[in-house]
């Protein structure tokens, strides 16, 4: 049997019970990793637990305490943490004028603090082993103005945080990179109000002439998680079919 690209690695994927996160969990375990699928959705976790080499754990990414407990449990159980993908997040198309402080705080605490706390609690264990790879999920909306007002701001926070953390943890050989998905066909994006007509226009405006698929993002996350990218840190990997290169 061929050796997987994440052979014997211990990986945590947040939001791992559905959508892109689930795709990553399946790909990582196929490539030889033991994967902790951390998710807030308890019912979805039961389904996750039936998968081979996948362990579902409950996590509210916006909770410092949840993160501290999860990181400690994984480290104690496996003796190391090799990979963290901060994938969990929420989206919103609320118009600018309607966004209030509660909306803002909810968005920033899940998408922004959620990634920050993950790095904070997991990177220290990675630093002990002098090895680790953290993959954050930003968005093309953090690079170019596309509406999605407070969502974009939260993804901008993730973008800046990734670079700051790459510098902070570089000497401990912990790598921190960010993925910038374009529009990906997932349950989350299918729920957006975007009309069929607009989707058609978007595809026309994308050099590769299609929307992204969850596996496009999972494959890129696998590359950044694996030792193939061992000299890449603080980098931005845009997976948008060339949309923002124009």
């Amino acid at each position: 049997m061929k050796i997987g690209r994440l052979d014997k690695k211990i990986a945590i994927v947040t939001g791992g019970a559905s959508g892109i996160g689930e795709q990553m969990v399946d790909l990582f375990s196929k490539e030889g990793a033991t994967v902790i699928a951390a998710d807030i959705n308890k019912e979805a976790l039961e389904k996750v637990n039936q998968k081979e080499n996948v362990i579902g754990m409950k996590l509210n990414v916006a909770s410092d305490e949840d993160w501290a407990a999860l990181a400690k449990e994984v480290y104690q159980r496996f003796g190391k943490i090799d990979v963290l993908v901060n994938n969990a997040g929420i989206s919103s198309e609320k118009p600018y004028a309607d966004i209030n402080l509660d909306d803002w705080q909810k968005m920033l605490s899940i998408n922004g603090f959620g990634s920050f706390a993950g790095i904070k609690h997991v990177a220290s264990y990675m630093a002990k082993e002098k090895k680790g790879s953290i993959v954050n999920i930003s968005s093309y909306t953090a690079q170019i103005g596309q509406g999605f007002n407070h969502y974009s701001a939260s993804k901008g926070a993730v973008r800046a945080l990734s670079k700051a953390a790459a510098t902070t943890f570089g000497k401990s050989c912990v790598r921190v990179n960010a993925l910038f998905p374009g529009i990906i066909e997932t349950p989350m994006t299918k729920g957006l109000s975007t009309s069929k007509e607009l989707v058609g226009q978007l595809i026309q405006a994308t050099p590769l002439q299609r929307l992204g698929q969850p596996e496009d993002i999972a494959n890129a996350a696998l590359f950044l998680a694996s030792d193939d990218s061992s000299y890449i840190t603080g980098a931005e990997l845009v997976i948008d079919g060339g949309f923002s290169a124009q």
Binding site: K163, A166, T167, G170, K171, C173, R175, G182, T206, P207, L208, Q209, R210, G212, Q213, D216, N219, A220, L222, F223, D227, D228, S229, S230, Y231, I232, T233, G234, A235, E236, L237, V238, I239, D240, G241, G242, S244, A245, Q246
Partner: protein, 249 residues
Amino acid sequence: MRLKGKVGIVTGSGSGIGRGIALAMAKEGANIAIVDINEEKAKSTLQEINQYTEGMLFIKDISKKEYIEEIISEVVGKFGKLDILVNNAHASKQALFKETTMELFDLSFNTGFYPTFYFMKAAYPELKKSKGKVINFASGAGISGQPTQASYAAAKEAIRGITRVAANEWGPEGINVNIIAPIALTEGVKQWRQSASELYEQMINNIPLRRLGDPEQDIGRTAVFLASDDSDYITGQTIMVDGGSIKIY
């Protein structure tokens, strides 16, 4: 094997980063055409490639554009197709801006920029058929504006410019065009390390990961990613493989 049965051309693959890429790709199953001006070094890469797949050898000065079409047609003649084009070769000399001459610009553009442009142009019909991948090379020296690198920086940023144009024009045809901006411990850097060990230490301390990249393990495997199906939705991008040295916006 992530590149099984694929056919690639790697320029400047006699040594350094080019050799690392050629080897990493061959180990993933790709047949590789080695293009280099140095016969001895190119032959040694060929021997290594042949341990894994099948290599082809072109000892050519690619600043002469007539050779470029010849290389493409010979590769396609032998293997029947072309999937991967890696434009890595580039020669330049450092000089302060005020001492930089047209000759230095000519050296940098004739060995780096124009070969990249002509190879892409000549390979395009084949890449269209294979829905192929182009990997071009830029540099942190260009992105950050490193002193003494005017001619190199200009050519490297010019390569980034045409890469984005080609990504947009050729995207609908399924051709991906991306850039790697590497730092690697090549033979040249090893020599420099011996003569300037203090400067070398200083440089390492400014790299977040505190080391230089390995031509095969670090740069080669990133090139494999960009040549493989795993990166099918990535185009027009610059991938920094530099230990975190430069974080571009």
